[in-house]
Subunit: 334 residues, 2 copies
């Protein structure tokens, strides 16, 4: 029985915003698992802001995806064939399995997903990479203390929404930054943030000052650019800035200026620290355990924005992340 694999491959290196022609879907016979391997039928692909960096030339924390290569993606699926005693057909698994219909894995680079704790798309969302990014990034880098004011940009996004809720669990005043009234309402009413700054409503600095009367102790930064600059100017002494993303610059074709308020780092003795979720990969089970427990206790909500259209829709769905077009964790159903 020859299964056909469909793969999203990189057709051209994007210049500026991703275009549909930067990717194409190709077909090939699905690979057969060798001894010790499993064949996974993928069900859901995680669309992440970091993907823009993965298709760019230049030095980064991982090599760029090559032209013609299957697009790198965190994805989830179900074991279809197993030649590995640790897995059986029907097991749900997640991992860096690419944007494709079938993937082979040797078992060491995948994690089993317990579907009783959440549907499969959640295991590439709140219980996957974005959830772990929020959990370890906030707790290990941001180090919020009870009573701190925490500001989270891209607050309605996959990572930001969880960061803010963890901040509330840890006793912080939590202020989000999001684009538009709907997202701000969601962040405050649904996720329980104390306030939300609408960056589309103008005067971010004044809105921020009103929302953070005691200044800002922790900033979980997903956006960069003028939003981060406004935050930097209002940081308190010994504040922490967890730099998780700088999405405002990911599609820029010219060099983006750095933060004009960089001097705040010196004057206020800030600790500004970058983070990549894979740095804590050995501790993921710890994060999953806490997030599942908080979710069951009603303290933590997840929101997935699941898009249909399959692999053919990859190139038209991914740009939503950079235009604010998604609402919650963006997932593409295979």
């Amino acid at each position: 029985m020859a299964r056909v694999n469909r793969m999203v491959t990189l057709a051209a290196r994007p210049v500026g915003m991703i275009k549909p022609t930067d990717f194409k879907v190709t077909e090939a016979p699905a690979p057969e698992p060798a001894e010790g391997e499993i064949l996974i039928a993928l069900k859901a692909i995680s669309l992440d802001p970091a993907m823009r960096g993965w298709v760019s030339e230049g030095r980064s924390y991982v090599p760029p995806v090559a032209i013609g290569e299957v697009m790198r993606a965190f994805s989830a699926g179900v074991v279809e064939e197993s030649r590995n005693p640790d897995f059986k057909p029907g097991d749900a698994v997640t991992g860096m399995l690419g944007a494709q219909a079938y993937a082979i894995a040797n078992g060491r680079n995948v994690m089993k997903a317990d579907l009783s704790a959440g549907p499969i798309e959640r295991w590439i969302g709140g219980l996957g990479m974005p959830g772990m990014t929020a959990y370890f990034g906030l707790l290990e880098v941001g180090q919020p203390k009870e009573g701190d004011t925490l500001v989270v940009s891209a607050a309605s996004g996959a990572v930001g929404g969880i960061v803010g809720q963890i901040g509330k669990i840890k006793g912080c005043r939590v202020v989000g930054i999001a684009g538009g009234r709907d997202k701000c309402d969601y962040v405050v009413r649904e996720l329980g943030f104390d306030a939300c700054v609408d960056y589309k409503a103008g005067n971010i600095s004044r809105q921020l000052r009103e929302a953070c009367p005691k200044g800002i102790d922790v900033n979980f930064e997903n956006v960069g650019g003028e939003i981060m600059d406004a935050v930097l100017a209002q940081m308190n002494t010994f504040g922490r800035v967890a730099v998780c993303g700088l999405i405002s610059a990911y599609n820029a074709t010219e060099a983006s200026p750095g933060p004009a308020n960089f001097r705040s780092i010196l004057v206020n003795r800030l600790r500004v620290q970058g983070l990549i979720v894979t740095d804590w990969v050995k501790r993921w089970p710890e994060g999953v355990k806490d997030l599942v427990a908080w979710n069951k206790a009603g303290k933590l909500k997840f929101r997935e924005d699941v898009r249909t259209g399959g692999l053919d829709a990859f190139a038209t769905t991914l740009p939503l992340l950079y235009t604010g077009g998604n609402f919650g964790k963006l997932v593409l159903k295979v």
Copy 2:
């Protein structure tokens, strides 16, 4: 006997580079020490890059010096009269005693200087604020490990020269950045740095790459601007940037752009942290002890650039710091 105090006071808030007319010397009867106080005849005034910030309006870590007020300065002198049992005439002391001929202190805000370990100007230099900045800034914030590559900007300056020598003591490859051949030669031949990048010779990035073939693990940053940007681009994963000074922007009249390579913080998971020496004020004796011991063991050299001309020369001597006109710790003899 009426002693006359001469005081450098702030005459106008500087715009851009400090001008002679921004300060004036005024005279008044010297104050008399009250019970518990001492009268100090100041001998040497420390001229520090931070002074530019102290005379600027705006939020900083200390309030700005007011117009008409005695200029804030770390200075050193000799007790002339004592009404405090812990001090006797002839004791050498240092502290935030201002740019003036006489100062009153209550004993709690001054530190005794042991002149057997170094002349009085050294107690406002290598064994004073700059030395402590280098010691705690590098060891506590930079956290160099044996085998690390450490890059120090303003390497021939009061702080930078000591930072690099401590880096060598801790087993680092130490690369300085300084302006001009003479300073670079001094840094390498006299202070024992492994290499020095001459920022006046152009192509800082290429010079830096040649001097740091294994990339940069720790950056002790005194300058900011394009020099810091070049360093940021070559930082290794999990590197540390101790932000001690951003002197390149101190006299700017327009907002200086932030580092274009800010993204390196994210990609390389850097820890970028600001520092102000007074944060470790309770631990100063620890730093003085180590620096004196290293100096006696021949592992650490100090260099003071002592200027005469007295208080009248304050306003014309201070700008040397911002034009690279000093060579070693800039001190003004009273």
